[in-house]
Symmetry: C2
């Protein structure tokens, strides 16, 4: 059931490379921009209490521990029960918040969300989902790293969950769903891909066949489904390739007086292009299939990205993504 009144998002004050300052700045901006959200801020008492006192609709939820980026996710979640991530997820589990947002360790967020919030009944494996930055149109991809080892039937659920996200959050009507594979034809691919293809053909609404690597950025499909190993490699490859090309472009434009003059004339438009392939607009990667909203932001998030993450989490709560997934999986 969608929420019509105030939505509470638990926010990990200690998540991200520039925490807590940038997180606090982003939370303040989110609270200011959307007056129908409130924030449950988790983190060290000396960080969260003064901030909550100074801001309306913000409640401090002290957490004495922090999970670092380099820690083993599942072990850290089990050991550090009073960490900002685990405390945030517990708030969702106990209904004190409807969503959780962190720009901290992705692995720890996945582990905490799965262990503490728990899966939606019928979901075999939650999937980490992301909007791939394409200059043509946003493309939703899952799994991008929650499940390095998958069974074909998991991908059928990934497809259903990612379709709901694509439709309700990214605004795709009747999303076209594809399986990432190494050829267009039905019979192509590894044994895993072939088995998955058969299952998806039968069980996924909007299934439109195989996507190849070059079809992703070309936005030939709205949703591209794959196992978490391939998805993680592909997402990082897209980001790395875009970053590498923009940095080579910058160097090229700086290479002579003539190119520098040219650069002045195209500067604003290049900035627009660069922004158009910035996935931060969607606030982070949602973990779909857990019993509540869990959104993970980039570690490098700035205040703007944190603000987007908090607002996007509230959007997912209001649009009842978890409820739609429960319904779709129950079918």
């Amino acid at each position: 059931m969608p929420y019509s009144d105030t939505v509470t998002i638990a926010v990990d004050a200690m998540g991200g490379d520039h925490a807590p300052d940038v997180v606090l700045e982003g939370v303040a901006a989110a609270l200011k921009q959307d007056e129908s959200i409130s924030v449950l801020l988790t983190g060290p008492e000396e960080v969260v209490v003064p901030f909550a006192q100074a801001h309306d609709r913000c409640v401090a939820q002290p957490a004495s521990e922090v999970i670092g980026m380099a820690e083993h996710p599942a072990q850290a979640v089990r050991k550090k029960k009073d960490s900002s991530i685990v405390v945030g997820c517990r708030a969702v589990k106990e209904g004190r918040a409807q969503g959780f947002f962190s720009a901290g360790s992705t692995g720890a967020c996945l582990a905490a969300a799965t262990l503490v919030i728990g899966r939606i009944k019928g979901v075999q494996r939650p999937a980490l989902c992301s909007v791939i930055p394409s200059p043509i149109a946003p493309v939703v991809m899952a799994d991008i790293g929650a499940n390095a080892d998958c069974k074909p039937e998991y991908l059928v659920q990934f497809a259903r969950m990612a379709s709901i996200y694509a439709e309700k959050i990214v605004g795709k009507r009747n999303p076209r769903v594809a399986l990432l594979n190494i050829g267009e034809e039905d019979t192509k691919g590894s044994q895993f891909a072939q088995q998955t293809f058969s299952l998806m053909k039968e069980g996924v609404e909007g299934f439109a066949g195989n996507a190849e690597g070059n079809d992703i950025i070309a936005a030939k499909f709205d949703v591209v489904v794959t196992d978490g190993f391939t998805g993680n490699v592909v997402l990082k490859t897209v980001e790395g390739t875009a970053k590498g090309l923009f940095s080579a472009l910058k160097e090229t434009l700086n290479s002579s007086l003539k190119t520098k003059m040219g650069a002045v004339l195209v500067k604003n438009e290049l900035k627009t292009l660069k922004d158009s392939i910035n996935a931060d607009a969607y606030g982070g990667a949602p973990l779909l299939g857990v019993n509540g909203v869990c959104l993970v932001g980039h570690g490098s998030s700035n205040a703007e990205a944190i603000k987007n993450g908090v607002l996007a989490s509230a959007d997912m709560v209001r649009k009842d993504i978890a409820g739609s997934i429960a319904e779709a999986v129950g079918k």
Copy 2:
């Protein structure tokens, strides 16, 4: 033993989207540029005989059949024994040529090379290898699609074979080899990746750990090894992302009078950048592990790319890549 005298390359006159015209043009250019190569041209009599008559160091090898891009590779190779691809591979098998080059169906070339030329003794699976276009430095990747399903031990051999190619053809000294994975740490990844990591750590000279998707274009390693499914997806993702960004860039530069003026000033330099990430300079993707040279060009190859392919095939023969692989695998 490297060749010091004339090298004969069997060339598929019917390979590629613009065959045979573009192939003939490329072959003529290769014969002109390198006087110590000769070409055994396979294809329909009416195509290859007149061309051979008109060109020194070119011998016609009529082949009455052609394998199309859409045909099932292994079936087509078995059925069409008088196709230009099979006839070309047979010439290598029988020692009438030392290398085979085609811009035709990759699958058919792989099947024909494996079935007709045969594997080097000790090689479990030949690997398709490619130079990934990076603006920073060329990166060698294997497998990019010959083996959709792999065992961890295959990748150890892929690493050894790709290292030899990287050293002798791409000019990397003591190549740094990485396993494509979803995290830097030794214990990351799927079960397959973890098992492969252990084997590579023990058995691959120059092994430098895990590479993530974004490390490829950053040229953090000289050789990146993965299974043929992931490699094929990644290569196409890099190509698709680069293509998508350049086309968005072109549109951006054409968007107003001001940007058009800017574009004029940076045009040449952008062309240089675009060329720098053009992998065609290496002439195509070598199938490493077969008992002779087999190089597969892009279907969209122009005459320049065909010429590069023929010259690169001869280079691989002269540098005795197959002999080095036989030695490395025998270790």
